[in-house]
Subunit: 281 residues, 4 copies
């Protein structure tokens, strides 16, 4: 009986393929709660709004923490439904160490620490924590999943281009430092400070807080800016082309659940004694 | 007789396929009037020019409003020529609720409101209204039509990348807020304000009105700028590639009017009793 | 005899296919002279250098003007060698109205005007004229020729995207003007001034001399910046892809002179009585 | 015996194909030392850190110089193992004139000059020298090797587009100088100074230290900014597409050592009397 109920809970929380009504309601409610919390963190930071509606923000926060705690407990409790987290202790521990479970935990844990009170500083500290809740969306957002696929697909090229970018950044910063340090000791006090100039110039952001003023520095800066738009655009181009590639291949081969394989654990169904009940119940 | 005349008016205003001389003259006159109004709105905003030529601007404005009113009335009157707006009342009402008809209406309606006089404030208010006339060009401009096709073609990918862009923007703003708020409470007073920094940095515009000054903020800003050029360029890349795709496919398969289908209502001609006269007359 | 000599001059100046030693020497000398003049215009503008070496700059200028005048006269005199400029008067007049011949003329003509003296103002005025000499390089530079081919190839798309760019620019400027004019009457005095903000923001240059300060203006500016990078990059993308296309097709099908066609006038050789002498001599 | 040892040393230092343990350890140690030196140059430039840990920086510097000297001597001594540097004097001299060997030499030579003492100025001077050590990484970094391949592959197109870029830059600077010089003689004192404006605008960096203020200058600047993003992005696009091309072709045809050819000198093995010992020993 309990096992049946646990399995039900598990399917509601995790089994996206089944798309039962309850599972969908639960998913949309959690997405809505995460987005509401993100919006709350944003507008809480506006001091006069926070001071006026402080009580409501705290109530909403406690409600969210309650829901996320319940969600976490239910996930950990029901994860043993999966074959790979079968063991009641070690299975659950292993589940708790998966990245998504860790994010889930960090998103609400600090609010149970003893020093939690409603003063502005601690709320701010928690603001950063609550912001991590956004990462929980990774479980639901297709965009972020595809981005993950793209990064994995282009992994090698991204590392290669990042090497070039870092190489160019260090070279630019060192050269501009030796050229401009004498003329502007306040703006280019040392090489790490010159790197700020380098990255803001080579990404073509160009705030204008630091820029070369000597003729040699301007020539160097101009050449580096010209080089920069070529080389700093490499990772951008790789991600963009990878993105199109992943979406196109997803359209061609949509991820249909393979009928011969269990959608939960990935094991072939015909090797299991009873393919209806191999999810332990 | 009246029906013949109405059908004539309708064909002059809408039927682009026929390309009669009158239809073309009418089209070019309306395009010219819209463009003139746009130019007028632009140079009216220069105070000394407006004060010198105030009378002429008002005359030109009244003339344009008159023409646009007439155009609107004729369109609504003659729209019953089309099979789908056949009913004299409900058909016309449905036509009046199409986006293009609403834009047509808004573009001249405010000038008939009672408080309309020639003082600068109301002219300005109407300037914004008259600017909407630019959208009327959507009926004629091929560029904007293709842009519409591109957005529909890449709809899914654009929503996905916009998700990523918004996710990165909120994350950047929240992180920079927690890092820089202490050091620059005036520049980063709250997270929505930090989003202004975020969007101006991640699009690489970089005005330089707000930028991080703490070492941690600079490191964070540098990493975000590097990420930003990769991810914020995604929608740009998708639109650019979609644009090329749409133009190429338009060149290969130019939209020839299908001879077996009525160019006005889209119904097959052979199912109609008399294919010359199925447009009600 | 004279005709033989004229034909010789013509081939030296124009006939790039023959690549005789004299033709090459002449070509390289003219390219060198144009580039020297460009460099001279640049460093003349540095006042202390100009004052010190004024005499040399004037001598070099007069020498160049002399050479360019001679080149122009020889080109006009010998152009009758070509079949299509055959007529001694009308042919030469038609040659003088080709774009390259006009540029040639403008590049030296002002220096023969009576008020020419060596004061700084007139030199500056001529600086702009002499800068036009750079355009003479169009006759020799392969890069600029390919750019011309790309623009012709993508003509239609470029006009379409320029329409979109101008539409977005006018819309942005009008909207930001109505939003920011009240708050910053000095920065956004009228819509044409707001267009400066628009183009500097939408190209992501972002000098930071003008930027929105009201919350509504910042939201609008942020959305426009995001849109801008997508739409303002369209012409860039079209030119880039066209460039690659043109270079690739040039590599595959190098422009070999068609042996059945006269390399000068493009007429089929076998329709001429004597294909060696159809260039009139 | 010595020859055997020399060959061993050579293989440890150069022969990347063999990937013996010692060769790998040696390679990783040298990469680590170069990166440490780069980091040291960076943080040495922070004055308070340099003053506090001056002794350690000098010790680390001397140790690195010692290692790089030893590495250089061993490379020069053992290079005669290669067939093409066979001659004990001329072979070694020719090896010493290869780019990588010259970089190796410059990276440590200045520290043996008599005036070397530990004052800040000379350390700084050497900072620039030591920065050249980064170029030694070119021997190991795959990213930089691929970048080199890309530049060679796209050589012709890059030169063509650089021509266009330089042409546009000179034109922009000349035009803006004639338009803005009167209004802002301090910001646009001469054409070379206007080029700084040109390159910072056309790369869309846009610091905001120099910008046009006259209406004509703003119109010109706006048009140039719009052109600039199209043309200045050409080299960037060429490098990006070349990068993808090189990586894709490397994936398809990985550089497997041809078994019939000596991995050191490239000569066919079967033409050598004893393919085990043709490396002279």
């Amino acid at each position: 009986m309990v096992k049946q109920f646990k399995r039900r809970i598990f399917l509601v929380l995790e089994a996206k393929e089944h798309k039962q009504t309850l599972s969908r309601v639960c998913e949309y409610f959690l997405i809505f709660l995460i987005l509401s919390n993100t919006v709350a963190v944003c507008i809480e930071s506006i001091e006069q709004i926070f001071e006026t509606y402080e009580v409501w923000f705290i109530i909403f926060n406690r409600f969210s923490v309650g829901v996320f705690t319940l969600e976490y407990i239910l996930r950990v409790w029901s994860c043993t439904t999966l074959e790979k987290y079968r063991h009641p202790i070690w299975g659950r521990l292993r589940y708790m160490l998966t990245p998504l479970a860790i994010i889930d935990l960090i998103a609400f844990l600090p609010f149970y620490l003893p020093f939690t009170n409603a003063d502005l500083r601690s709320i701010k500290l928690f603001g950063l924590t609550r912001f991590l809740q956004l990462l929980k969306l990774g479980r639901y957002s297709r965009g972020i999943k595809i981005l993950g696929q793209v990064i994995r697909l282009r992994q090698e090229e991204l590392i290669l281009t990042l090497n070039i970018v870092i190489f160019l950044l260090i070279s630019s910063a060192t050269l501009i430092y030796f050229v401009e340090h004498e003329a502007q000791p306040d703006q280019f006090p040392n090489i790490p400070a010159a790197m700020w100039w380098g990255i803001i110039t080579l990404t073509t952001v160009g705030y204008g807080d630091v820029y070369p003023i000597t003729p040699l520095g301007k020539i160097l800066g101009g050449i580096l800016a010209l080089l920069g738009i070529g080389l700093f655009a490499l990772p951008a181009g790789l991600i963009a082309s990878g993105f199109t590639e992943v979406i196109t291949s997803n359209k061609k081969f949509p991820q249909t659940p393979d009928p011969r394989v269990c959608p939960h654990c990935g094991k072939p169904l015909d090797q299991l004694p009873n393919n209806q009940t191999h999810v332990r119940n």
